[in-house]
């Protein structure tokens, strides 16, 4: 009776293992059933990519979080191993889907067509269905997420309280994939908000000194913006004519089905008129954009990001910068741009200005930062501005650039944050200038820092360069000499990155100057796990830098189809 928990402590390992087994069994049992969509094909998305990580992580969390501290410590090593193994499953599946190992997938789709699509009835009364699918826009992001989760787990292997930390990362990954695969506005929004919760906990429980403020700011800021977006979505919902059939509400007669809405909007837009008329397009465009701009984040809605990043644990930062920011860009391309192309054309310059301001402001502010992680966070703001420029360029090339930027930044920025995390972890200081000559003590860390910094400042043959080059190409014909500003940013980016390296890993004389926070101890180099994690990231940065066509082929097909399907001739 006096026990503080309903479940007896002793049987918990069994429950844990049992729960996992049950979830795996569920996966296997439902596969032929739940797993088959209308055409009898196997559903590779719903359970394997989305459900599995969330459910397994949820079960592990539910059990691990009930334990007291010492038992959690004991549990953490089997749990994180399990988490790591489980996180490899989605990665294997998404990789296999790309290489057609499981089934032949046609990624060369026309606009508003999706591969591996499946739809199940869910909330029929208001026209919500569980509708998932992938196309050239979402698949790279899905792969990126499946890739980053195991890498993040590996990199932050030694994070304290691993029994709950690593499952949270896995859960976050599942929710993020959910965002990218959902083809139903309601489902999309559900996952969109669901991603906040694991992140909130990651910051709150594993964060730095100001984690209380940062976690709340992160949550509230993005939540505020997304409710405005939700209002836009609901308004849109009632503007699509009633219909019947799968996905249409039995009570409202409308549908939240993204595919149906997109095809209706495209038909209207490509016809004589304008979908909903210009006035309404503009309003809805900005309502949706607001949610995505904050998530992106674009200046002036960016201030949550540095706070969140600086306080977040390394793994949280890696996923936050790697995938979560891209949700904004993804959403923009998926919804407002696709639905309201005329509004985009009308506000092309505004989108460009926001992008440009983010780009320039982010990089200039970077130069004034003294905290390594804060600097990297602002550099993310700057890089995300590039995506807006791509969208504003109104060219498939620009869209490809934006997509590739999302992808490349998704590989590079986790590395940057992993480096920052290692600084924090091993030197207990992220103040630029508080140390000198760290390359002497931590050659590996110095190498990864150098590599990540160089990749981020757009060194050719590393992933970041392709997108920057393409964005400049797409930008010039539309905006001409404004290109000097992105050019200026290229130089400033190099300046703050090099300057920060000069004042951390370089200099210091023959003895080196460890930070005061080391209290006179010799700083260690990074651990094996960090090393492996960053090495994997580095390898992929190089691979996608030298062979960008691996990802760009799919993206290019998508953007071509997108332009054919969305924009009217002579529209610009």
């Amino acid at each position: 009776m006096s026990s503080n928990s309903v479940i007896d402590l002793k049987g918990k390992e069994f429950l844990l293992i049992g729960g996992l087994t049950v979830s795996v069994a569920l996966l296997a049992a439902f596969f032929p059933d739940l797993g088959s969509n209308g055409e009898g094909a196997v559903d590779w998305i719903s359970i394997p990519l989305v459900g599995f990580p969330i459910i397994t992580a949820g079960i592990m969390l539910a059990f691990a979080s009930q334990e007291n501290r010492s038992r959690r410590k004991m549990l953490s090593s089997p749990v994180r191993l399990a988490t790591f193994v489980f996180s490899l499953i989605p990665l294997a599946i998404s990789t296999a889907l790309f290489f057609d190992w499981l089934i032949a997938v046609n990624w060369d789709l026309s606009y508003n067509e999706y591969a591996l699509e499946s739809q199940y009835a869910w909330i029929d009364s208001i026209g919500v269905s569980w509708h998932v699918g992938m196309d050239g826009l979402s698949f790279p992001m899905v792969w990126l997420t499946t890739f980053l989760v195991p890498v993040t787990i590996l990199t932050t292997w030694d994070e304290k309280d691993g029994a709950t930390y690593h499952p949270l990362l896995l859960m976050m990954g599942g929710a993020l994939i959910g965002v990218f695969v959902s083809l139903d506005l309601f489902l999309f929004y559900v996952f969109w908000e669901l991603t906040l919760i694991p992140m909130f906990f990651l910051i709150l429980k594993w964060g730095g000194k100001d984690r209380r403020y940062a976690s709340q700011k992160f949550f509230i800021y993005t939540f505020c913006a997304s409710v405005i977006m939700l209002l836009g979505l609901i308004t849109l919902y009632f503007m699509i004519p009633e219909g019947s059939g799968e996905g249409y509400g039995t009570i409202t007669g409308r549908t939240f089905d993204m595919k149906a809405i997109l095809s209706y909007a495209a038909a209207e837009n490509l016809g004589d008129g304008v979908f909903l008329g210009m006035g309404m397009q503009q309003v809805l465009f900005w309502m949706l954009m607001l949610g995505f701009l904050v998530k992106l984040p674009a200046v002036p809605f960016h201030t949550w990001l540095p706070d969140a990043h600086v306080q977040a644990p390394t793994g949280g930062s890696m996923l936050l910068a790697g995938v979560m920011l891209k949700m904004g860009a993804y959403g923009m391309l998926r919804l407002p741009v696709a639905l309201f192309p005329d509004a985009l054309i009308e506000f092309q310059d505004w989108v460009m200005i926001i992008g440009l301001v983010s780009l320039v402001w982010g990089s200039v502010v970077c130069l004034g930062q003294t905290n390594l992680k804060r600097m990297v966070a602002y550099s993310s703001v700057s890089h995300m501005g590039v995506i807006l420029l791509g969208i504003a360029s109104m060219q498939p090339l620009g869209y490809d650039a934006a997509l590739f930027m999302m992808f490349a930044h998704g590989i590079i920025s986790p590395m940057l944050f992993a480096v920052c995390g290692s600084f924090k972890h091993h030197y207990h200081s992220m103040e630029i200038g508080s140390m000198r000559g760290m390359a002497k003590f931590s050659p590996y860390l110095a190498v990864y820092m150098m590599f990540g910094w160089m990749a981020s400042l757009g060194l050719p043959l590393l992933a970041g360069f392709v997108a920057e080059l393409m964005i400049m190409i797409a930008y010039w014909p539309v905006y001409g000499w404004w290109i000097l500003l992105p050019g200026f940013v290229l130089a400033v980016t190099a300046a703050y990155y090099l300057w920060s390296m000069q004042r951390t890993i370089f200099e210091g004389g023959d003895e080196g100057q460890p930070p005061e926070s080391m209290l006179g101890e010799t700083p260690p180099d990074i651990s094996l796990h960090e090393n492996i994690g960053m090495f994997i990231l580095a390898v992929f940065t190089v691979i996608f830098g030298i062979f960008p066509f691996i990802a760009l082929g799919m993206m290019g097909d998508w953007s071509t189809a997108f332009f054919e399907g969305v924009f009217k001739l002579g529209g610009i």
Binding site: P300, P396, L459, L469, W476, F506, F563
Partner: protein, 726 residues
């Protein structure tokens, strides 16, 4: 031009070093300190050398096949995207390919690059591996070294401006890494950053230029498309001119020309092989290569449409030539003199290229090809000579270090601030380092343009070409005059360097103990000495003709006729103006400059010291000149101009001030603004809502009477509103 034969393997030339990069890095990390790794593999040096040897062989095979006509090979499509025409709705595929493009320009630079990379690799094994300061980090040097070679070779072989830029940036990275090789020295870390940032400024413009070019040429950056005369004539010539001007800014940065020259002298913080390879012989030539690559645009564009760019190129060259030479007058650091000399000589080539481009654009095709040939020949000569000079200076510095250690060891000299690179500590080394002294002498003569030796042939060509243009375009008189003056100045500072180092009596005890003893080092010095002297053969082979026309140029193997032609052309030109010019130039560079230097810095060696006979004459001559002239330059040395020369004409100060005060100051302000105003607004909303919350909760007074009163007031309000609506 489609690929067949050896060109199919050309891709290996940049690929092998780039693959060697991780291999050396990881092996080095693994076997660091293992005796066999140090002794048998030279800490990775031999791996690099093997690779570079293979590259050299492959390059020579490739060169052999392409001596007469170029060829090209498409390897794969790097990335594909599309462009949407909003009027027709047509979506056009845009392909960025990867390929190899070889013409005479490529061939020449490929040789320069692979040859020098190989030789400097040999030199490095001698230089780096015997320096205790480099223990356990030479693998890093060799890894970065091969990566750099890959960048240089790749840039030369690339078949489009895009890939040129990509490899260009890789070289930039390696330059950064290698300058900062001794990262623990603040000066090296600073210099590395400065080099990267300064070139980055140029690169930004280069990118913009490329983007403009891409747009002009309908989504193409590959040479085979953009050099097509029809395509060139089809584009807006004004826009093309701006694009080329933008690209030129990139070249200015990379080749350390005014006003982006400040990084090169500081780059000497890197190990000497790096200075030799990157900052003298290869990477700094990238800018020249880029400008030379633009030649077809000028040749095929509308007459005179692009001449403004050509003039700007020449003027920048002229200014830099004189400015760098001036600063070189006062430098005491051996390597810095060479650095300024590099800047100055590169500036010559720029002026030559400017002239060539102007001539090409204004329809003087033959003159243009001559000028282009001369410029590129000078590039060749300069690369060989300067590479050698740097290696020789490295040899001097290295031996000075050794000697310093010896001396300090014997005498308990606790002199940590001894500067092994300062010429004030040298002197009289001619007898103690015969090979080095010889190499340096030949190299200096080549750079000065002493008749018949190396650079003379090309330098004359550049000066005469510049004056040729000046006759047609008055504004060109300015650069032409500058480089003519510069010729004399070159004569002065190169001689000054040589005499201060090798002639006279040793100025310090250390200099007395110097011996030439390190293995590996002499090999490249000797090779390059012969290479420099060999330039006369190349000149007689009319390599200018061959170089000046990238695809169809030809050379002659009939040396006798070639020699006659060349001698006639140079020393007995039919054009009296050019003839006069030649002799003025020779007079300045051969007589005026060196004699001034001799008068100031010449002198006999120590008693009993005897230099090799082919050096001794110069020493004897200098002591004679000095004794006979009694030239006193102290007034000049005290002048404020000299002081500002010591301060490198204040450019560095101004740039640093601009960077630290304006840019960083602005950035700090921005950061403050960001956290106080933008984020402050968010925080303000929060705190004001908290305040509102407190106020609104104060209305809940706790007294039920107030509650009832509020309810009554609410009732009243409801009445009023209902009333109003009804």
């Amino acid at each position: 031009m489609s690929g067949s034969g050896i060109i199919e393997y050309a891709v290996l030339i940049p690929l092998m070093p780039i693959l060697a990069f991780p291999v050396i890095l990881f092996l080095g990390k693994m076997f660091n300190g293992t005796p066999s790794w140090v002794k048998n593999v030279k800490e990775g040096g031999l791996i690099a050398l093997t690779v570079m040897g293979a590259v050299l062989i492959l390059s020579i095979l490739l060169i052999k096949e392409n001596l007469h006509h170029g060829s090209a090979d498409h390897i794969f499509n790097w990335l594909t995207s599309s462009w949407w025409d909003s009027d027709t709705g047509a979506i056009q595929k845009k392909v960025f390919g990867v390929g190899i493009y070889i013409d005479h320009l490529t061939v020449m630079l490929l040789f320069v690059a692979s040859f020098l990379c190989f030789l400097i690799n040999v030199f490095s094994i001698g230089y780096m591996n015997t320096d205790p300061i480099n223990d356990n980090r030479n693998h890093r040097f060799y890894a970065e070294f091969v990566l750099f070679c890959s960048g240089m070779l790749g840039m030369v072989l690339a078949d489009s401006f895009l890939w040129l830029f990509i490899f260009w940036e890789i070289m930039g990275l390696c330059s950064y890494l290698l300058i900062g090789f001794y990262y623990e020295r603040p000066s090296a870390a600073y210099a590395a950053k400065k080099a990267f940032l300064t070139t980055r400024v140029g690169d930004v413009f280069l990118v913009i230029g490329l983007v403009m070019l891409w747009n002009l040429f309908d989504g193409h950056l590959d040479y085979s498309y953009v050099f097509n005369p029809e395509n060139i004539q089809a584009v807006d010539q004004g826009a093309l001119q701006i694009a080329l001007g933008m690209m030129f800014v990139g070249a200015v940065g990379k080749s350390a020309q005014f006003p982006l020259h400040v990084w090169l002298p500081d780059a000497m913080e890197g190990p000497t092989p790096v200075s030799a390879l990157i900052h003298a012989a290869t990477m700094v030539n990238a800018g020249l290569y880029l400008v030379a690559r633009m030649f077809p645009f000028f040749a095929e564009a509308e007459l005179g449409a692009l001449s403004d760019v050509a003039i700007i190129i020449a003027i920048i060259g002229g200014i830099t030539a004189v400015m760098a030479a001036l600063i070189a007058f006062v430098q005491m650091d051996l390597k810095k003199v060479l650095a300024y000399s590099t800047m100055s000589q590169l500036a010559y080539i720029f002026t030559g290229l400017g002239s060539a481009l102007w001539l090409a654009n204004n329809g003087y095709d033959d003159l243009a090809k001559f000028a282009m040939g001369a410029s590129l020949f000078h590039l060749f000569n300069h690369a060989m000579a300067k590479g050698m000079l740097f290696m020789a200076s490295g040899s001097v510095i290295h031996e000075m270090h050794h000697a310093h250690h010896e001396v300090a060891h014997h005498d308990d000299h606790d002199d940590d601030h001894f500067d092994a690179q300062s010429m004030e500590n040298m002197g009289g080394l001619a007898s103690r380092m015969p090979i080095t002294a010889t190499a340096m002498l030949v190299g200096s003569m080549s750079i000065i343009g002493i008749p018949f030796i190396g650079g003379f042939w090309s330098k004359e060509g550049i000066i005469s070409s510049a004056w040729q243009v000046a006759l047609k375009e008055p504004i060109f008189i300015f650069p032409a005059l500058l480089i003519l003056i510069g010729a004399g100045m070159t004569g002065f500072y190169m001689s000054r360097m040589w005499f201060m180092t090798f002639a006279g009596k040793p100025k310090t005890e250390v200099a007395e103990h110097v011996h030439e003893q390190t293995p590996w080092i002499p090999i490249p010095l000797v090779t390059l000495t012969f290479m420099t002297l060999f330039a006369i053969v190349l000149a007689f082979m009319h390599s200018g003709h061959w170089l000046g026309d990238f695809d169809n140029g030809h050379y002659t193997s009939d040396l006798v006729h070639g020699a006659a032609d060349e001698m006639h052309h140079v020393f007995a030109n039919d054009d009296p103006f050019l003839l006069l010019l030649t002799y003025v130039a020779i007079g300045l560079s051969l007589v005026l400059g060196p004699s001034l230097a001799m008068a100031l810095y010449g002198g006999r060696l120590d008693e009993g010291q005897k230099a090799k006979p082919w050096i001794q004459w110069a020493i004897n001559l200098s002591s004679k000149v000095r004794r006979s002239s009694h030239f006193d330059n102290s007034a000049w040395a005290e002048s404020s101009f000299a002081k500002s020369l010591h301060k490198r004409l204040h450019f560095d100060d101004w740039y640093d001030a601009a960077m630290m005060k304006i840019v960083v100051g602005f950035a700090n302000l921005s950061a403050l603004f960001d956290s106080k105003i933008i984020d402050g607004a968010i925080k303000g909303i929060e705190s004001s809502s908290q305040g509102a919350s407190r106020k609104i909760r104060l209305l809940t007074t706790g007294s039920a009477r107030d509650y009832i009163m509020m309810a009554a007031l609410g009732t009243l309000a409801i009445f009023l509103m209902l009333w109003g609506v009804a």
